[in-house]
Symmetry: C2
Subunit: 325 residues, 2 copies
Amino acid sequence: MPSTTPAPCAPDDVRRIACIGAGVIGGGWAAHFLARGYDVTAWDPAPDAEPKLRRLVAAAWPALERIGLAAGASPDRLTVAPTLAEAVADADFVQESAPEKLELKRSLLARLAAATRPGVVIASSTSGYPMTDMQTEAAGPDDAGRLVVGHPFNPPYLIPLVEVVGGERTDRAAVEWAARFYDLAGKSVITMDRELPGFIANRLQEALWREALHMVAAGEATVEDIDASITEGPGLRWAFMGPCLTFALAGGEGGMAHMLDHFGPSLKSPWTRLAAPELDPALRDAMVDGCAAAAGGRTYADLVAERDQGVIDVLRATGRLGGPR
Amino acid sequence: MPSTTPAPCAPDDVRRIACIGAGVIGGGWAAHFLARGYDVTAWDPAPDAEPKLRRLVAAAWPALERIGLAAGASPDRLTVAPTLAEAVADADFVQESAPEKLELKRSLLARLAAATRPGVVIASSTSGYPMTDMQTEAAGPDDAGRLVVGHPFNPPYLIPLVEVVGGERTDRAAVEWAARFYDLAGKSVITMDRELPGFIANRLQEALWREALHMVAAGEATVEDIDASITEGPGLRWAFMGPCLTFALAGGEGGMAHMLDHFGPSLKSPWTRLAAPELDPALRDAMVDGCAAAAGGRTYADLVAERDQGVIDVLRATGRLGGPR
């Protein structure tokens, strides 16, 4: 589509960001943007949203200090607005992180486009809906054209990846603007040319996750076995070398060519199940109990702190923390 | 089965290990065992096996020095034997890492059991065959009973995981002996009670890998996108927290229960493909070319060195390198 909706400011002139939805993901985005030195205005209709959000930001802040804050960054630059309209009124960019319900996303994105200044790019944190399916209620090309997917990973204040992709009605310039903005805001961006339900990383981890659920459902492996099989094995490589290049190394000096020519036939081996398992109560409980056992008395806060420190350590260890950007 | 084949020595009395097959995996095992202070005798029928093996050990050694060698460890304690019989004659443990061909594994494991001292445990590095299918040619219970799977990850001298499982004819005591021995030899062991083709970690990474192949085949993502989507995203967590516990955190304070109750229905979303793709020449070439592009001029040796240093850094960063064991 032709560019009909120039953004009101360049990606490097963004000062104020609206975070719509302030749960684990929306709050994590708020923490990230605050740490990068932006003003953040949040809005969430839940009655206890503000204290929860401020607790989340406070819990994340020590980790963010350790990896380095932008000049002037402060949790005090977080405002919680009483209405959606007030939250986005002077926003240069909007990050929507509402619950994963298609109807809700549709109406919310249309309301956001109507309430923001013309041209402001609005990104959805959806973990899987194509933007084409979410932008159906946006009023016209000026509204629909600046709706993009900006899909983060948890926690958004530490995991660099953001997947950026537009829908059929999205202006290509809005996709490019968002990719550039996220890059400036310290994220690692994958811009997708085609819509794909689940995008890239979620499709990959969902495939692994389904196989894990099957193994637990069949009593073939415990949650603990599954987690250890990743953290003590392939997970150690995947923190810094992806599955394709990792498999290429398995081909020795012959690389991926040798790997595929040699091991290609074993692709047909029955190593994975292919349909999603029935998530019956027994499987649900086995997963819940298995995770409780794996946590071994550590609270949610303990695990979050452990995860955060772990990600920082891995990022630093693999040369991805040169200092504050 | 009752224990009919006591090992000739306790796991902590092992001094000499035979590595049968000296390619990437067998050579990697040799480097690991040498670094842990064992004598290693290798055998491989390939004419150029010895220089290749010694190059592999020499290339691995600096990394092994950095993470700390056992007292007395030396690459000079590697012997290459001219025959299989001489390689295993005085071995206290045998690690078989021959090519992944079932008929070859069957006859080789039978020969190894016949040539070793009675009771010596023989482990196969197979990446997926159940031991029940591999132990069919072993002469009797004393031979078949001490054949186990000991499946490592590449490179075996850095990635801790070993999956240990027996076949129908395997003595339970041999499985326990192997698990204890690997633990003493510095590995992280998952002992499986049930045979499962592909074991645990390979089933999981194979599911992810198939989805990656589908996306490349359909032109939906590049190899570079796929690798970045893991290393910049979920891979950063999987180096120290497995997929189950990671997903539990996605449920916020409600943990896995909230995650499954809330996101369970999206399991039915069409986020992954379910059958293995046809590995046609176009897909093969797309993967080969994509990996070459991802390597960006780095040689195989560059990538191995980078991977090794990366694993060390991640291990150290996540507290798994307290010092030499």
